[in-house]
């Protein structure tokens, strides 16, 4: 009796530890869902893309020529904000960074695991729209996260559009 308790306890702890380790490893690669409200400046996509009607590529200028979409440089923000009302606290913070020539450390919200190779360039070149993956950006305050970005979700679209479903396409 005693032996079997000991056995199950040790088995339980071993399995638990393994799961913990695997989970830890896995979580390293997934997106951080909880970080919405932790941006250093409360930037609103709804305002910029929706009300002002800015094109996504105006700020994320690398998207059509690079794997990553890119985050706009401070200079690009200042292109408009230089001549604007600086009364809001968020904009004040932005101006502050500009005066100190210090970049804004935005919190990253979208992140694919390291074992996935994804490129914006190919998707845009094949007429996938930003909102297909990122959702109604222009009507979402702060930063949206539209989809799960899990493999099944990617594959559904690849299948629909007749895109490659080879493993090697995304797992190089």
């Amino acid at each position: 009796m005693k032996r079997s308790v000991l056995h199950s306890v040790s088995l339980l702890s071993v399995v638990g530890l393994v799961a913990l380790a695997v989970g830890l490893l896995y979580s390293k690669g997934t997106a951080d869902l909880a970080a919405q409200d932790r941006q250093p400046i409360p930037f609103s996509h709804e305002f910029h893309a929706g009300r002002l009607g800015l094109d996504c590529l105006y700020c994320h200028r690398a998207a059509h020529q690079s794997p990553t979409a890119g985050v706009p440089s401070l200079q690009l923000c200042m292109g408009c904000h230089r001549n604007m009302d600086a009364n809001q606290p968020g904009i004040q913070t932005l101006l502050d960074h500009w005066t100190r020539r210090q970049p804004v450390a935005w919190v990253r919200l979208q992140r694919l695991p390291d074992f996935v190779y994804f490129t914006h360039e190919r998707h845009l070149a094949n007429q996938v729209q930003c909102l297909d993956c990122h959702g109604q950006v222009e009507s979402t305050p702060y930063t949206p996260r539209a989809a799960t970005y899990e493999m099944g979700w990617c594959l559904a679209c690849h299948q629909q559009r007749g895109a490659s479903r080879d493993c090697i396409t995304c797992h190089k």
Binding site: S4, H7, S8, L11, L12, S13, V15, G16, L17, V18, A19, L20, V22, G23, L24, Y26, S27, K28, D32, A34, A35, R38, A62, Q65, S66, P67, T68, G70, V71, P72, S73, L74, Q75, L76, H97, W98, R101, Q102, P103, V104, A105, W106, V107, R108, R111
Partner: protein, 729 residues
């Protein structure tokens, strides 16, 4: 143990709970954009910049992958004629030289010589002023010891040293100076021969480690591939002669375990047979001289001295003589004795006897490359370093050279640094020698600097490779060329019209391109310069081949001398440069440290390779610590059973045992140089690193060698099973 259903379900529950736990972790990644965008950078898109590898003297072409201003990967430049897109491990690991946490990041000075006060930082202005003052008020000789330089930097530094009446020396441990001396002796040529491995169909190599770190390893590796598999109907054969089977030897068809120091004798024996049995291409008088010199010692005596049976000697000679394009080369182990030059001359003479000079697959000589200008800069050997240490020197300048680690302590070199009034170093890393300096003006990483490299004549195509900075400098360092220009201006020296090394380099290229490519005028130069920087250098057609006219007779045989008699010191000590760390330069790069040795799978340390018979006779178990004792000291290292070594030889790789060389190399392993006797190749003065005899003692303590295949340490399991060495007579 039986797994009950209940237990299983419980385990499952815990596992599920376990996998939720990490979800609580809030790891935040940041996206930090530029303040001001760089128009040339597209985030996420790599730029590839061509440059030149500076990890060894070969100067292979590289392309560096740079993303968002950071160098990420180094590959071979496929357009470069020397390495054709290939790269060795050292070249790949050069990236870790750039990001190495132990780089010297700013100028440093030592407050006082005595005591162990640490170096303290100072501003560049102050550092340059200090050195200028020293050079201005100098009382005695000023010397500079540098790693071998090439191209424009060599010209700049030698012009500077001439202008201040100083002496510039190149120093590289294990330099193949005997090879050059032998070429001079055997062919009357003062140039590196091109070894046409690719065209040969029978390579008889006397210890030449051409697949490791010898001469130009990547291009020789490519040529070797050609020799073996590049021709539809011929697969070249390859015989390696050396006391310990090297990594290169492991690729050979046959290994001849020769007695250390007798490579020249074997060549004489083979020459004797060739001359006796085959019609020779030599003119009558020359033939007679060769007959006299090769026939000096009877064949049976040669067989006994080399410990190679007469039949094997005859067989090898006949194979060599009947091959279509035989090639005899020597280096490495054959170069590590007091008779290195004579041995190499005898080996190279075999190519003369078979008429292989200047023929495809033989030894060929090409016109020296363009604007070399470095021919006249003398090289230091361990012997001349020792002599230098006896002189009263005023200022010693040191650049990227570490003689205190690479020369044995039996040569009292420390004096050189202790007795000089002032020692300044330009090295990028703190090593055993630089830590003896009074002032350090650290160089950039090669990936941060401009430069060029002139291909020596060992390769037929004329090549001048270019290096360009691929990233902005990480620290407050300065390219050594710029430092020398600043010093020249402060000293008011004439002949240095340019402010920056980049401008100086362009001036030289203006000359080169106008002479070689007819590029005249600023506009044409600007376009050509951009093209060559992008391409990685300038290369022309194969240079003009030189005909060997004078062929002086080979040098008469001289027996190798050893330190220690064979009664008290029964074993030959055979230190060899590690294929990855060389003589220690690569030891501060973790990628090279963790690269398992291809033959033992050992890494991150030093070990001794010992024949299992010898080990067992001394009661040494696999992995045990063995004490190796010479007349000059002792070292303790774990022993690894290695059947591919003569029973009377014990081998230890060099490269480790640094006192100071950053966190990855310092106090790791041992330096086999530390027990070597001060014996030299008596013609060139290069250290005879295999001329020390030793005895071994079992300590009974188990060692902890780091092996990729630790099962090899099991009793009875031998690391290599490629046939056993014959036991000693």
């Amino acid at each position: 143990m039986k797994l009950k259903r209940r237990t299983f379900i419980k385990a499952l529950g815990l596992a599920a709970a376990g996998s939720f736990l990490p979800g609580c972790e809030r790891e935040v990644h940041h996206l930090v954009p530029y303040v001001l965008p760089d128009d040339e950078i597209v985030p996420g898109v790599a730029d590839w910049y061509a440059s030149t590898c500076r990890e060894c003297q070969a100067g292979c072409g590289v392309v560096v992958r740079v993303m968002e201003g950071r160098a990420k990967k180094i590959e071979g430049n496929s357009e470069h004629p020397l390495n054709q897109g290939k790269l060795c491990a050292k070249g790949q690991a050069a990236l870790q030289g750039l990001y190495n946490p132990d780089r010297i990041r700013e100028p440093l000075r030592r407050p006082e010589r005595e005591g162990r006060r640490p170096f303290e930082p100072l501003a560049w202005e102050e550092a340059l002023t200090q050195l200028t003052e020293r050079l201005r008020k100098v009382q005695g000789p000023v010397i500079m010891i540098s790693r071998p330089l090439s191209g424009t930097l060599a010209e700049l530094v030698s012009t500077f040293m001439r202008a201040i009446d100083g002496e510039l020396y190149f120093y590289e441990p294990g330099a193949d100076l005997p090879l050059r001396a032998a070429s001079r002796a055997a062919f009357g040529m003062d140039a590196w021969p091109h070894i046409d491995l690719a065209g040969s169909d029978y390579v008889l190599s006397f210890g030449a480690p051409f697949l490791e770190g010898w001469l130009s390893p990547v291009s020789l590796g490519i040529a070797y591939g050609q020799m073996r598999q590049g021709r539809p109907l011929t697969r070249g054969r390859f015989v390696q002669v050396e006391p310990r089977l090297s990594l290169t030897g492991a690729s050979a068809d046959r290994w001849i375990p020769i007695r250390p120091g007798t490579a020249g004798l074997l060549a004489m024996g083979i020459g004797q047979i060739l001359l006796a049995e085959r019609p020779s291409a030599l003119p009558e008088t020359q033939r007679r001289t060769y007959e006299r010199i090769y026939g000096d010692i009877p064949l049976d005596r040669i067989a006994a001295l080399t410990d190679i049976p007469r039949e094997e000697l005859v067989r090898t000679a006949r194979e060599f003589g009947s091959a279509g394009a035989p090639l005899a080369i020597g280096g490495g182990a054959a170069c590590a004795h007091t008779n290195a030059t004579e041995s190499l001359a005898a080996i190279q003479g075999l190519n003369v006897v078979t008429g292989r000079i200047g023929r495809p697959g033989g030894l060929r000589f090409y016109e020296p490359a363009l604007f070399s200008g470095t021919q006249s800069i003398p090289w230091l050997t361990e012997r001349s370093l020792g002599e230098l240490a006896q002189r009263a020197l005023s200022v010693v300048l040191l650049y990227d050279s570490n003689p205190l680690h690479t020369a044995p302590p039996s040569i009292p070199l420390r004096r050189l640094f202790e007795q000089a009034d002032f020692v300044a170093s330009f090295s990028p890393f703190m090593d055993d020698s630089t830590s003896a300096a009074d002032l350090i003006l650290p160089d950039h990483s090669p990936l941060e600097s401009w430069g060029d490299h002139v291909q020596p004549t060992s390769f037929p195509t004329a090549i001048v490779s270019l290096s360009q900075p691929v990233v902005t400098p990480l620290y407050d360092t300065r390219a050594v060329g710029d430092t020398f220009l600043s010093l020249a201006h402060r000293l008011g020296l004439s002949g240095f019209p340019r402010e920056t090394f980049h401008a100086f380099l362009q001036d030289r290229w203006r000359r080169l391109l106008s002479e070689q490519a007819g590029t005249h005028g600023e506009e044409a130069f600007a376009a050509a310069w951009a093209h060559h920087v992008q391409q990685g250098g300038w290369w022309g057609r194969p240079g003009r081949e030189l005909t060997v006219t004078a062929a002086p007779p080979p040098l008469p045989h001289v027996p190798a001398t050893f330190d220690g008699d064979d009664q008290n010191w029964p074993l030959y000590f055979h230190p060899y440069p590690s294929p990855s760390l060389g003589q220690g330069r690569g030891a501060n790069l973790p990628w090279l440290q963790e690269l398992p040795d291809a033959l033992t799978s050992a890494m991150w340390g030093t070990w001794a390779e010992i024949n299992p018979h010898t080990a067992q006779a001394h009661g040494i178990r696999q992995g045990d610590i063995v004490r190796i004792v010479s007349r000059y000291g002792s070292i303790e290292v774990p022993a690894l059973y290695y059947p591919a070594i003569r029973p009377d030889v014990i081998a230890v790789p060099m490269g480790q045992g640094h006192q100071e060389y950053g966190r990855y190399a310092s106090r790791r392993g041992v330096n086999p140089q530390s027990i070597l006797a001060p014996l030299f190749d008596h013609r060139t003065g290069v250290l005879a690193s295999a001329a020390t005899r030793v005895r071994i003692e079992a300590t009974g303590r188990p060692g902890r060698p780091v092996l990729l295949e630790p099962s090899a340490l099991d009793p009875g399991h031998e690391l290599l099973t490629i046939g056993k060495a014959r036991s000693s007579p």
